[in-house]
Symmetry: C2
Subunit: 208 residues, 2 copies
């Protein structure tokens, strides 16, 4: 029996994308895997893998392990990755440019369909022959016309909070923020921070 | 009594940088805080905060909470942030440029002291009047002469594994990788991945 979505700890949900990454590598040499192999690959115990996956249902059989294609499909479904997602990029500096040039998003079903910036020099610029940067004042129209729920926020820290509030006001439900500030937003809004300083401050624990 | 470093779950260590971020904000309005306020700020329960911190020692007093400066200093010490860290940037594309231009690293004691690339067009280019991009063939000399233990890896996915192996061979102990591949390295090497696709695949769980 699987639990309802609300009951599953976020820390377990957060691991599922890494499972997908591991499965895509393991699939190159086999059609099946097991909790030991997955655990070795990801640095968790086999017991942890089984416990994580059992939160969502029964995906493997005792002794025969997991069918990789089936498990991948199930995790994709759990994470709502069996559909395409539209995103807006807010801020087109170096990081914004890197995002627009990175093929990994659309390969995974995430499509940056619009990009905005507040700088007069940026607006009108065409990136990769694909997207023309628009003025940030168009953001409400862009979000509402395209029914976008995800924003990539790459504006300077000083304007991140006010920009995020506007995005939420216009209908954004989830934000990936590259700005090094903690955003204060309503509890139903999901925010994930991409912050290399946090990662650095974590690894130095293990250095001396 | 605090536990020894090896016994403390990595998931708790991983939260300490976020505690620091929260403390720096809370410090603007008060000299003290408590587990409830910290928990509200970070989205954890007060009990979780107390449990996390008790792994490392006794930092607060029943009823009076935590002195923010003292707790900050203690966490900085636990994470080895009471010293400066030298880093090398490997790969100088869009992300590499964003890293070189981002003041948040040196503000936090992390200094990119050298940058390398394999492209003839990049080598010799000066960024921000500070760092001149060097040829990747100089990497061994750079790491050894400067005794660098941290690398920021922003090369294409196709060469990430071989590049990481060289970095480790030359003495790098920790890697922040922006390449969307899982690196296979010796167990004593710390790797943190900066991967927005992982974050996106996490948040879509909560969208519909």
């Amino acid at each position: 029996m699987s639990n309802s979505r609300q009951e599953i700890p976020d820390i377990i949900v957060a691991r599922l994308p890494r499972y997908l990454r591991a499965l895509s590598v393991l699939r190159k040499k086999s059609q099946t895997t097991n909790s030991k192999e997955l655990g070795d690959f990801l640095g968790y115990s086999a017991a942890q893998i089984r416990k994580d996956l059992s939160q969502f249902g029964e995906f493997g059989k005792q002794g025969t392990g997991y069918n990789i294609d089936f498990l991948t499909e199930q995790i994709n479904s759990i994470l709502n990755l069996d559909k395409e997602w539209k995103m807006v990029l807010v801020g087109c500096g170096n990081i914004g440019h890197a995002i627009l040039n990175y093929p990994g998003f659309s390969h995974n079903g995430f499509h940056v369909i619009a990009a905005v910036d507040s700088s007069k020099e940026m607006v009108g610029k065409k990136i990769n022959n694909l997207i023309t940067i628009r003025d940030i004042s168009d953001i409400e129209e862009i979000i509402k016309e395209n029914n976008i729920s995800i924003a990539m926020l790459t504006v300077p820290a000083s304007v991140a909070q006010e920009t995020a509030e506007k995005l939420v006001q216009f209908g954004i439900k989830a934000i990936i923020s590259y700005a090094p500030v903690i955003l204060t937003l309503p509890h139903n809004i999901r925010v994930e921070y991409i912050d290399p300083v946090i990662s650095l401050q974590h690894i130095t624990y293990y250095l001396s």
